[in-house]
Symmetry: C2
Subunit: 341 residues, 2 copies
Amino acid sequence: MKSKATSFDIAHMAGVSQSTVSRALSNSPLVNQETRDRIKQIAKDLNYKVDKNASNLRKQHSQTLALLLFEDPTSDDSLINPFFISMLGSITKATAAAGYDLLVSFQNLKDDWHAVYEDSNKADGLILLGYGSYTDYEYKLSQLEEQGTRFLRWGAPDEKHPGISIGCDNFLGGVLVTQHLVDIGHKSFAFIGDADESAPEFKARFDGFMSVIAESKLNADSVVQKDAISTESDGYNAAIEILNTGKPDAIVCASDLIAMGAIRAIRSLGFKVPRDVAVVGYDNIQISEFASTPLTTVHQNTQLAGELLVANLLKLINNEIVTDYLMPPELIIRQSCGRTT
Amino acid sequence: MKSKATSFDIAHMAGVSQSTVSRALSNSPLVNQETRDRIKQIAKDLNYKVDKNASNLRKQHSQTLALLLFEDPTSDDSLINPFFISMLGSITKATAAAGYDLLVSFQNLKDDWHAVYEDSNKADGLILLGYGSYTDYEYKLSQLEEQGTRFLRWGAPDEKHPGISIGCDNFLGGVLVTQHLVDIGHKSFAFIGDADESAPEFKARFDGFMSVIAESKLNADSVVQKDAISTESDGYNAAIEILNTGKPDAIVCASDLIAMGAIRAIRSLGFKVPRDVAVVGYDNIQISEFASTPLTTVHQNTQLAGELLVANLLKLINNEIVTDYLMPPELIIRQSCGRTT
DNA sequence: CTGAAAGCGCTTACAG
DNA sequence: CTGAAAGCGCTTACAG
C-alpha cells in the first residue's frame, strides 16, 4: 500500500509550485493552458485526487448534502416506506448531478438529535425527509436555523414550522381521489389514516377528502375515520374495526401501505375488492401496481421532487431566495376503486 | 447567522488550552474528570461540534464508509431494485451503529470511474453493491486494491476478481426453490435470467437449478433458458417467448421482478398461475408478498447482510483478516409455485 | 501567469 | 494532568 500522492508530489514532478498545481487542477484560467494540461496529465497518471478534507477545511464548505430520513418509529427495518426509497433514489441522482456528495442518515425518533448536528457540520445543507410532522423537532429545527444551517424539508408548507418546504399538494390529492369515487357512484365513505396535527400530510389528505364529501352533499356524519400510521398492519387493524361497525362503499386510505392492509382485512372478512368495498391508496408505490387488486392511488412525482429539493437547497446555500413549493399530484386509476368504465 | 464556535472558543470560556478541550471532547482519560465535564457542558451549551474536515484531515481518516451502488444501466430511476433498497437500509443502520457516516453514490456504467476514486478519498472503506458482474470494473478494482483502498463487494466469491466478497449462496438458493418444484410434482421447466459470466449471481442460481434437474433425472435437454436482466419487462418478454414455443409446468425466475413480468405474460396469454404454469422468483422483495399471486421465492437476509458487510469492512480497515462469506438462503413458499399441501 | 506564505480547525507527540 | 507547537493537505490573497 503506497501512500497517496499529494499536490506537492505533482508539483515536484511537473517542476512547478504546489500553488500552481492546485490552480491547474481546479481549472483556474490563471494558469497557462499548456502547464495546466501537463499537470492534469501527471495527476491522472498518478491517480491523484484532491484531498477533500483538506480542501473542504480550507474552503470552509463540504460539497456535501445530507439527507436525514425520519422513519415512523414503529416501522421495522425491512419496511422502509417505498415512497421514501424512491425519493432517496431521485435525491441521490440529483445530488450527484450537481457535483455534490450525499450523506444519508436515518434519524430515529428515540435518539436525541446528535446526528443532525453532526451532519450539519459535514454538510453544506440538509434535506429532511419523513412522513408525519416535524413537530417533535420544531425546537431543534429552530436551533439549526439560528446556527445558519440551510435545510429544506419535504412535506406540507406550514406556517408554524421553521424552514422552507417542498411537497406535494396533499389536499388536492385527497380531493382528486375522493371525487373520482363519488363520480363513479360510491355513496358512503371511510378514511384510514391519522388526521391530526401530528401528521400534516395525512391530515391534508383527509381535509381534501372531507371537502369532497361536503360538496357532494353526502352525509358527512356517517363518515368514519380511523387513525393509522403508514403501515400495512395499521391499515389492516383499522379496516377490521371499520367493517365491524358497518360496510362503507369505499375506504380512502392515507397511504398505499395502509390500503394494502385494508384490502387484506376486507378479504379476510369474506368481502371482495372492489365489488363489496372499494379501496384507494396514496403514493403510487411500486407494490400498488402489482398488487392482487391493482390500486387506484395518487402519484407524487418523486423524480421531480428530488430534483426540486436539491436544486432549491443549492439555491439556499448560495443565499438565493427560495419559497415553499407545492407540486401537483396525479390521480392513477386502477381497479381497486371499482367501476371505471 | 453566527459563525460556528471552534475549540478555541470553548478553551477560552473554560479557561484551559485548546489541546485540553480537544482531549476532553474525545474522552481522553488524560484530562481531569471535573475539567472534562465542565468542558463538555460548555460545548453542549454552545452546540459545538468538532469540525470533521479538520479532525479527519489531522487524523488521516474519515470515519466514513462509502456505498457504491451499481445499477443495471437499463433500469429506470423509479425502479431501483427493491432488494438493493433493503440492503441500503440495513447498511445505513449498521454504519450508523458503528459510529460511521455513510456516503451513498450511484455508479453509472456509462460514466468513468471518477466517482469511485473521489469516494475512496472521502471514505475509509467502500462497499460495492450491485447485481451482475463486476467484470467491467476488474481493472479499476485492482487499481483500488493497489492503492490500499479497503473494499468489500456484495456478491458471489470469485477467484477472478480482486477483493473480498460477502454474499448469499445463490447456487443453494437455486437448488432449494427448484427442488421444491420437483417435490410437488412439476416435470418440465424453464428458467428466465442471464446465465453467463456477466451475471454471476444469476448464473449460480441457474447452475443450482440445473443441478436439481440433473439429479431428478428429468430431461435436461427440454429445459428452456431465456436471458433477462432483473426487470419486470425483461421477464415479460422472456416469458412470452417461452410460451410461444411451449408451456412448461414451471418457470424459475432469477429475480422477483422477472417473476412479476413472467406472471403478467402468462396471464396475458390466458393462462393461470399457478394452475397452468407455476412461477417462482428470487429475492423476496416486498412486492412478492402482496402480488396478485403471492410469490414463492428465496429470501436473502438483508439485515444480516448489511451488518456483515459493515462489520467486515471495519475489520478490513483495522487490518484484520477478512475472508469471503456465504450466507445461507431461505426458501419462502407461497402460492405461485402451485400445490403446496 | 507563477510562487511563497498564511491559515482552515483540529489531534497528538513532546515537554513539563 | 496540562500547555505550546507542529502539521494534516489543501486554497487563496498577496506580491511580483
